[in-house]
Amino acid sequence: MASKLCALADAISRNVADGDLIYAAGFTHLIPFAAGHEIIRQRRKNLVLARATPDLLYDQMTAAGCARKIIFSYMGNPGVGSLRIIRQEIESGRLEWEEYSHFGMISRLQAGASGLPFLPMNPTAATDLENRNPQYRRVVDPYSGKEVVVVPPLNPDVAIIHVQRCDVEGNAQIWGIIGEQKEAAFAARRVILTAEEIVSEEVIRSDPNRTLIPGFLVDAVCHTPYCAHPSYTQGYYDRDNSFYIAWDKLSERREEVHKYLEEWVYGVPDRAAYWEKLGPETHQRLKVASRLSLPVNYGEY
């Protein structure tokens, strides 16, 4: 089995180019903050940032000047409020955007992952968004003569996927909220995996139904513990809700945002240093007690 292990900085420099369409996957869970921070450090420009929920990561990347355009379906700070940076950039006309409902966004990824030219959705009667985004089209159902709404495939240049565990080839297992990680990996041209743990092939093969991403899709495997903070990794550490709340305040003023980026992104070489810098109190606060799945029997055949 060929090892694809490399440093996250190398994975980004090899696989992410200026102007690329990036999908850093995850619905609240497993958001690959460390990879986004590395993209900021490497000062990538003119990126198209696609994600159902841009979350703080794309707010930060937009503040750092990486983004030309954003593709999304819910642009909020989940449970807190709005994403102030992206919102200001859109309101001021400095940032392009392309918008869907969650289902439209996820259908685009599923079409991209499936090699299909479009996927249908039933009409919702809410046509304002459809009328303003020419990517939405209509197709006549040949059985009933009624119309369905369709969206085209989304095929990112790069998908970045954080996982709980994978082997060195990139066969990856995820549990907890699995959002759109599998679809993003299959839709993308290149795939960067970050992982809490690199495990032996035998661990993966002990439970093949748990594997969502096959290694042959993967270009780089980066061992990156705590990659997702302030998002979380189910079973590994908790979501740092207080950071999400603090960002709402902090991001009211651009100087504060740039100070944050200086200190926590440009000012640290990598995720290990970032985590170290967060300090023992935060480490303690985000610790999680164990709750294990019961095994299943595959049988020796």
Partner: protein, 252 residues
């Protein structure tokens, strides 16, 4: 201690749920309303989250709709594509909770933009899953404080469909969901009439019709049999205050 506005809304929303139903839950008050219903009259309420979690039993109050407490001890976790196709579009969701910056006369909701879409005055978060929930959940409920800016005659942008310009217009699209069935506010309850127009059907105790009309952006009709909601019971308030939101994050 008398109920706060949030408690009043939560208790009244909880009472709209029936035992054994599947509910598409959002964070905040809908989450509290569902958990209250589960601990009172609807122990078999099945909570579904758009993040892909079915049968959640959160042991703490989730800040976000994707909190890990929703997953641990839940019945089933699936992908977002599955949630939107197999559960929502297939018509397997009985109740959905909606929110937004504006709700209009026909229950249409705006969660997208104030002003022109391409030159926004205020850019809001956008649809998320609400476009589909409003279309395909069998019944939808809206929980929102009653303020005139939240209840314009016509929303700037229809993020999710109520009855459009009237019930017939919604029916023509052939949606599997029945549309908004009630808006629960801190003043009372609005429900659609036979034309799909939201009218005042109940007041909370101590609230006047004039108060409600003053806080509504259109010429609000009053139901012939205007009712008064049952005040929250001690047991409902006890569960909310002591068990579900002891720190008063959402209810104060």
């Amino acid at each position: 201690m008398p109920p706060t506005a949030a408690e009043l809304m939560t208790v009244n929303a909880a009472r709209l749920l029936r035992d054994g139903e599947t509910v598409f839950v959002g964070v905040g008050l809908p989450n509290l309303a569902c958990n209250l219903a589960r601990r009172t009259h609807a122990p078999n309420l099945l909570m579904i989250y758009e993040a892909g979690v079915v049968g959640a039993r959160p042991s703490r109050l989730p800040l976000s709709i994707g909190d890990p407490t929703l997953v641990s001890g839940s019945t089933l976790v699936c992908s977002m594509y599955d949630i939107f196709t197999l559960y929502l579009q297939r018509g397997k969701v009985d109740v959905g909770f909606l929110g937004g910056a504006q709700i209009d006369r026909f229950g249409n909701i705006n969660a997208t933009v104030i002003g022109d879409y391409h030159h926004p005055v205020v850019r809001l978060p956008g649809s998320g899953g609400s476009m589909e929930m409003a279309a395909w959940a069998k019944r939808c409920y809206i929980i929102t404080p009653h303020q005139v800016r939240r209840f314009p005659e016509k929303v700037d942008f229809v993020t999710s469909a109520g009855f459009l310009q009237g019930r017939r217009q919604r029916e023509e699209v052939g949606l599997c969901g029945g549309g908004p069935q009630a808006v629960v506010t801190d003043l009372g309850i609005l429900e659609p009439d036979e034309r799909g127009e939201l009218i005042l059907t109940a007041l909370h105790p101590g609230v006047s019709v004039e108060q409600v009309r003053a806080n509504t952006g259109w010429n609000l009709k009053i139901a012939e049999n205007l009712g008064v909601t049952q005040p929250p019971e001690d047991e409902e308030l006890r569960i909310l205050r002591l068990e579900l939101d002891p720190q008063g994050i959402y209810l104060k």
